[in-house]
Amino acid sequence: MIDTGNYIAAKAAVMAKPDVVAAYPITPQTTVVEGIANYLEKGEFTGEYICVESEHSAMSACIGASAMGVRTFTATSSHGLLLMHEMLHWAALARLPIVMCNINRVIGPGWNIWADENDSISQRDTGWIQFYCSSNQEIFDTIIQSYKLAENEKVLLPVMINYNAFILSHTSMPVDIPDQREIDEFLPKFKPKWNLDINNPVTFGNIIGPEYYIKVRKAMQDAHKNAKKLIPEIAREWKKKFGRFHGDLLEKYRCDDAEYILLAMGAIAAESKVAVDEMQRKGLKIGLARIRTFRPFPKESILQLSENADLIVIDRNISVGSEGVLFNEVKAALYHKSDARVNGFITGLGGRDVTYKDIESMCRKTVEGKANECEWYGI
């Protein structure tokens, strides 16, 4: 199948057989839910499909449906994700295995619809598991894997699958789509351990005091730790069944003997592979570690990488008043445990194109010792 990231996401969502899809349109997410509407028309999607009146309502409807113990899906982008913010916290604290695609797009004002990761980065602390994809095949595979992860009793957390606006969402690529039977074998029907049931009445979301609330938060943190173990297991199971592997928490690319390792996410990370090939051809010992899950954060893997190499981090986001967020987190992972140097670059904001040549020049600047600790590229 050759199709855009959004239509591939729609295909994956339908093949995961969600019972409820609730969504509100926003560029560049719309073709995901339009794709699902098309499958509904063809009779290939048999769940309930609701066009709600806002993203806040979309997430609320998913929360309601998920509390009933059914599989749910939604998709959004940029301001839509920001409008969901309250409900994102709720979904995670209520431990509901909702799966959502977020198409990374700029936040206004200065209205702009191009790629930028500040939308999902600013939802970092909501408790959602966050994946960042670099190809349409990875979008498909990650959506199916995410249900398996989210619905695992040791995890029970919502999952956000992020990919860059237009660069992936509206670009066609060949994608291998397994049979429905194979998907069903990998991802059986969701059997919730806890759900609203008239035969066994319970109330979700009741008032709790400080003595329990802190335990709720601790349980979420433990669930993220469990997810750290499960993500590689699920990825390996997928590889065994379908022959494809996109990495564990991060994907290492030509890291053997590397003196420098580049860390990036999303579309820039895909472009970085070209840059790494080019630089290695010219004799620079530089590899790539593509961050696949930002939450849980692959702290241990990054620390390991830093044992023999200095790190270069590229962020398509900024925590204004501080630095690029990935850069910040990478440094925190190394604190007191590694003396590797870390250089950070902020680039590509507002959809500014970042080519392999740009990535190469950022790396060269670092290798030649001319780069500041954290700097802007392409201003």
């Binding site: 509100y24 926003i26 560029t27 339009e34 509407a37 098309n38 509904l40 066009c51 301001h79």
Partner: protein
């Protein structure tokens, strides 16, 4: 510049030509509504330094960007909330909001309801094209039953919103609906809406050939525009038919969309009442120490 007689002269005065070309498709109604608004402003002779525009998200919400005046292009559905703040900061301003059906009746419905209920002095110009046009044709809360949208490929089963009826029930001071193919009545309504001290809601039925007309097989642009003439009925005609018409006429009239002035009443306005409250509570004793904010609240006559 002397008296303006042509659309060209009008555009020169009010349009921000640097923003051209517009994003609008062939056959879109947004530009026409903008033109009607310019005529209304021109006929009222308002000082454009005392007029501010606000809008949300959608094709119609792009309009303030094309106007040579202060404007706030805000987030989806929130234009009226932003505009409330604008009006609070300077009640002397004439505040005009451009919004669409998705923006105003969908995601921003709550703000619309409360601004109308409070009767805040602002003019909401809502361009209703029955669809989410900018994002490519998803089902809107105004899509007629049976209407085809990308997210309703079998036809809409949801009951559409009639915001004129809602605004009237909420007690808005001025409520009217026209189609973009009416050349004179809309200008009059926009003028009346702006002059009204209170919440004014003026709805335009406007074609979206790209995202609605095409998908619903409503024909080429000319036929699509004619659809609005054929499927609308003046409130007065509707009431006359309901009183004196035969069954067949009544059935036909019931299927049509009513246009005209739904409500035109005088009613206390929120910020005027607010100022009276401040004056009553602060009285003569505190006037000297009253805050900058309360001074700003004084409505100049």
């Amino acid at each position: 510049m002397g008296e303006i007689k042509t659309a060209g002269e009008l555009n020169k005065k009010y349009l921000r030509e640097g923003m051209w070309p517009t994003i609008f498709c062939n056959g879109c109604g947004n530009g026409v509504v903008l033109e009607y608004t310019f005529w209304a402003l021109e006929e009222l002779g308002l000082d454009m330094d005392k007029v501010a525009f606000a809008s949300g998200i959608g094709c119609s919400s792009r309009l303030p960007g094309y106007i040579n005046a202060d404007g706030l292009h805000t987030t989806h559905g929130r234009a009226i909330a932003f505009a409330t703040g604008l009006k609070a900061a300077n009640p002397d301003l004439t505040v005009i909001i451009f919004t669409g059906d998705g923006d105003c009746a969908g995601i921003g419905g709550n703000h619309f309801i409360h601004a109308a209920r409070r009767n805040i002095d602002m003019t909401v110009i809502m361009i209703n094209n029955f669809i989410y046009g900018m994002t490519g044709g998803q089902l809107a809360p105004t899509t007629p039953i049976g209407g085809i949208a990308t997210t309703a490929p079998y036809g809409n089963i949801e009951h559409p919103f009639d915001l004129c009826v809602v605004a009237k029930a909420l007690g808005a001071s001025y409520v009217a609906r026209w189609t973009v193919s009416h050349p004179y009545q809309p200008i009059k309504s926009i003028k009346e809406g702006i002059q009204k001290k209170g919440f004014s809601y003026i709805e335009f039925l406007a074609p979206c050939p790209t995202a609605y007309g095409r998908r619903n097989k409503l024909g080429d642009i000319q036929r699509l525009w004619e659809w609005y003439d054929k499927n609308t009925i003046l409130i007065e005609d509707y009431e006359r038919i309901m009183k004196y018409g035969d069954e067949k006429e009544k059935e036909r009239a019931k299927k049509m969309i009513q246009i005209g002035v739904f409500q035109d009443v005088e009613k206390p306005e929120f910020f005027t009442e607010y100022q009276k409250l401040v004056e009553r509570l602060q009285g003569n004793t505190i006037t000297k120490t009253s805050s900058v904010k309360s001074k700003k609240m004084v409505v100049k006559k």
